[in-house]
Structure formats: C-alpha cells, structure tokens
C-alpha cells in the first residue's frame, strides 16, 4: 500500500516536471508550427546556468538569470527558424531545430564534461513523511511549483488578451493577423515562455533523488516529448494530461522494478515511448488532439 502511494506521488511529481517541459513543446508548436527538438538542450542550458551561477548569485538569483538566459536562447532559436519558416512549410524548421540541438548540446557537453553539477537547491536530500509515506522534499516542491506555474499559465491562456491572441493565432494565423494580432511578437512570447519553463524544469530534474546536472539531463527531459505527443501535439490540456500519464507510467515502472524484472532493467526509460505508441495506435490524434469541429 505504501509502495503504491509513494509510487503515485512520485508519478505526479515527475509528471509535473514533464508538464513544464511539455508545455514548452506545445506552445512552440502552436506558435511556430515546428516541433522543437532542441528543447532538451535548452533545458540543459538552463540547468547548467543555475549550476554555474548559484555560488555567486544564490539559488534564487541563479534560477532567475538561468530562466532569462534560456528564454533568450529560445528567442534566438525562434529568430533563426523564422527566416526559413514561411517559405518552406513545417518540416524544414523542425529539421533545423535538430541542428540547433546538436550545436547547443555539443557545446554544453564540452563545458560540463563528465561532471555532475549541483544546482545548490535549498531542499538537499531532505525527505518529508506525510501519512506514513516518505517522499523527497524536492519532489513535493516540484509538484507545488509546477502546479502554480501551470495554473498561472492556464489562467492567462483562458482569460487574458495574450491567451486569446495565442488561441486565435494557432487557430488561423491570417485571420488573427487581420484582427490586429502581431504574430511575430506572439511567437516570440511563446518561445520565451517555453525557455523559462525549461530552466525551472531543469532544476527539479536535477534535484534529489536526481543527482544533479550532467550532460544527459537534456535527454531525460525528452520523455516530455512523448507526453506532448500522446496528449495531442498542440493541445495544452493534452500536454498536461500526457505529462501525468508519462510520469505515472515511469514511476510505476520504477516502483515495481522487482516485479517487472522479467522485462529487464531500465524499463522506466523506455516506458514513456511505449505508452506513446500504444495510445497513438488507439487514438492517432492523441488523447486531446484536435477533433474536427468544422461544419461544412
């Protein structure tokens, strides 16, 4: 029973971190129509900045600067993509993101080398015991922080002019332009937000029981990619739901490792993709993917 409760909590916590990453994927896809394969490297950049800066600036200061720096990097990527986007359809910018990913990852891997960098987060290896269930304090706070950030985002998406612009623009870019929506600024805002969220996610991915930032942190974050896809790429609700599904699946595979040992070790790393494939076979548009709601 305790194992189950603990596993479910870990699944939610992991899912909440994935949600921050998947939301970034989803926003960028809505705004630019491209799948950003460099998102994991942007996340690694955010984590790296926190790791390097937390000593001079303190954790909070480092996180703020890292979020801004990652957002800026995402904005630069958006500018590069913009030059090729209009003429070439969605495939070319998406391929370009793979190039950006390789460049960014190579440089970060060169700087990080074989090290595992601490982020100086305030939670350390503390644990909390809630109702007989022991969980890492960092996971509790990651759940809290993600809930706040996602909640704030959803409120803005639903009720502000920015959110309406975003929804209108992703529905019909030209009609939105005719209503006075400035597509360039809107696209940029989506990329900036995606970058900042990735930096926050990096901190939580590195925190206990994670070991810190290393050169593979970006790849771990890519589990958020199947989350965004299985939820229905371009659907905000789908990205969030998909993140929980993937987080849960991964936590269950980890928590019941012994019982599942017949499938070999390392199942947790494969499970997000397996779940994605299974769900897409049943629902090709993803859990909450765009249904055709147009009457002809």
């Amino acid at each position: 029973m305790n194992t189950l409760a603990q596993t479910l909590f870990n699944g939610m916590a992991l899912g909440s971190v994935y949600a921050l990453v998947a939301l970034g994927f989803c926003l960028v896809f809505k705004a630019s129509g491209a799948v950003n394969f460099a998102h994991g490297s942007l996340l690694l950049l955010g984590g790296y900045l926190v790791a390097v800066l937390h000593e001079p600036l303190g954790f909070a200061g480092a996180l703020a600067v890292a979020a801004a720096g990652t957002a800026a990097a995402a904005a630069v990527e958006a500018l590069v993509l913009r030059r090729v986007a209009r003429a070439n359809g969605p495939a070319v910018p998406t391929i370009l993101t793979i190039g950006v990913d390789i460049l960014l990852l190579t440089e970060l891997a060169r700087r990080i080398g074989g090290d595992v960098l601490g982020t100086g987060d305030p939670w350390g290896a503390e644990v909390l015991t809630i109702g007989g269930v022991t969980v890492a304090q960092a996971r509790f706070y990651s759940l809290l922080a993600a809930a706040l950030l996602v909640g704030a985002f959803l409120a803005a998406f639903r009720w502000t002019g920015w959110g309406l612009s975003m929804r209108a623009y992703s529905s019909d870019a030209e009609a939105a332009a005719l209503m006075g929506v400035r597509g360039d600024r809107l696209r940029m805002s989506a990329w900036l937000l995606a970058g900042a969220l990735a930096a926050v996610a990096a901190v939580f991915l590195a925190a206990f029981p994670g070991t810190g930032i290393d050169r593979t942190t970006g790849q771990i974050a890519l589990a958020a990619f199947p989350a965004a896809v299985l939820g229905g790429l371009g659907s905000v609700g789908g990205a969030l739901l998909g993140s929980v599904v993937v987080g849960m699946a991964e936590a269950l595979a980890t928590g019941y490792q012994q019982q599942l040992s017949g499938l070999g070790s390392g199942l947790a790393e494969v499970v997000p993709y397996a779940v994605m494939v299974l769900i897409l076979i049943v629902r090709p548009q993803g859990l909450l993917g765009a249904k055709e709601s147009t009457r002809v």
Partner: protein, 254 residues
C-alpha cells in the same frame, strides 16, 4: 509573378465602393496589399502607395492597418472554429489599443443587436455555426474594432440567396452608421446594387470604373458580369428584380 499593375482605387469616407472581377483578376491580392497580409502569402508590393485618411499604410504590418481603422473580413469567413462565438468577438478587439472595457461592452452589445443569432449562440464553438451565421460572425468580429473602413472579401460566397440578401441589408446598415465599405465581389448584381461607385478588375488592371448605377447599365458589365446576352432586351428588368428580391429586413435574425 506580378498580380496587379497600375491599379488606382479610392473609397470616399463613408461610401460603399465595390470591386468586381473574375477569379484570378487580382482582387484578393489588392485587399492583401491594403490589409498588410501580403507577407503571409510570400508576396510583397514592389511599388505603389496605400493610404487611409492622412496615414500611409504601404508595407505596414496588418496590426498597424487595423489600428488605423481599416479592418478586413476575410474571404471564406475564417472564424476561429474552436473558439466560442463570444471569444471570436473578443478576438476582434485584439488590435484595439486603449479604449477601455466600456467601449468593448458597447461594441459587443451592438454586434449582438445587429445579429441576435450570435447572442443566442455565444457559448457555441464558431465552427459549428452554419455558413451564413459564420459570415455574420466574421462581420461582427470585424465590427468589434469599430473600423472606419471595412474591407469585405466575397461576403456572399457559397451562401443561399436569402442569406445573401440579408448580408446586403447588414452592409447597408453598417454603412449608414458612417463606416466606409470596400466590397470585393464576384456576385456583380449584389455588389452593383449596394455600391455607389464600382471598379472592374481584369487580370491585374482596372478595366472599367464609374458610378455603380452607370456600370450596371453598361453593356460590357451586363454581358461579362451580370450574365446577360449581348443581344438581350434592354429592359432594366434584371436590376429591378434584384432589388425586389431583397427583403426589407431590419436585422438578421436566423
């Protein structure tokens, strides 16, 4: 490819001007040049000038054109299908700076008064409305910004005759409130009946222009755009019948 050559067109303040032309005549290109959406179609203006009032709009982004008071209702309605009717109308004010909530509320009330069907369906997804209702929504959405000049691109396209007649009524009503209208149409009978002044665009050049009443009597227009035979009888039946077919409706209800 150049779609337009030496086309010069003007809409007097508060007037209704129509531009006729067959498919591929360059009508959409001309509207895009005005509304600043040419870049979205990988196009650009290599020369010429677009101005509204005293403001030069040549090459300005679409948002600046909206801010200047020129709003286009796109061809094919292009409502935001997944958004509710109410959100579609709100989206019509995304290009409006300043002018507070009070003005937004008044604009919404006016649109709902003009199109009561939209008020009834304000919570529905716009994609589920009928074609006529979507056209009403597209026009209402544009009116939310309180344009001084409304660009209408083929508002009658694909709609039943009765609905077309009601749209004509709505255009008259909007114009009577002091909004200038540039109406681009393939339905020449409708357009010439609504407009004060008309231009005929043919393969990127203005072929004819003049007062709408005069053009609707010209043999060339009648033959090419009103579907009459050249040797046909000269009685002005066509015009009169068209006028009579427009029901004297105050507003659109269903």
């Amino acid at each position: 490819m150049t779609a337009l050559h030496d086309v010069s067109l003007s809409v007097p303040a508060g007037g209704i001007v129509t531009m006729l032309g067959a498919n591929g005549a360059g009508k959409s290109t001309l509207l895009r040049a005005v509304s600043g959406t040419l870049p979205l179609h990988s196009g650009s203006a290599s020369g010429g000038r677009v101005a509204f009032g005293g403001v030069t709009l040549t090459g300005r982004p679409a948002a600046d054109v909206v801010a200047a008071g020129v709003v286009q209702v796109p061809e094919g309605r292009r409502v935001f299908a997944g958004l509710s009717v109410a959100d579609n109308l709100k989206a019509g004010r995304l290009g409006v700076r300043a002018r507070g909530r009070e003005d937004a509320r008044r604009a919404t009330a006016e649109v709902y008064e003009l199109f009561p069907v939209l008020a009834e369906r304000r919570g529905q997804a716009a994609g589920l409305l009928s074609g006529g209702e979507q056209q009403m929504l597209a026009i209402g959405r544009a009116l939310m910004a309180r344009p001084r000049l409304l660009l209408l691109d083929e508002p009658s396209l694909g709609l039943a005759p009765l609905v077309v007649a009601r749209i004509a009524e709505v255009v008259r009503h909007i114009n009577a409130q002091g909004t200038g209208v540039l109406l681009v149409e393939q339905n020449a009978a409708l357009a010439l009946e609504l407009a004060d002044h008309a231009y005929v665009l043919d393969v990127g050049r203005i072929r004819l222009e003049g007062p709408a009443a005069e053009l609707s009597r010209s043999d060339e227009v009648r033959r090419l755009y009103l579907g009459e035979r050249p040797e046909g009888d000269d009685e002005p039946t066509s015009d009169d019948e068209e006028t009579a077919s427009v029901a004297p409706l105050g507003r659109w209800s269903r």
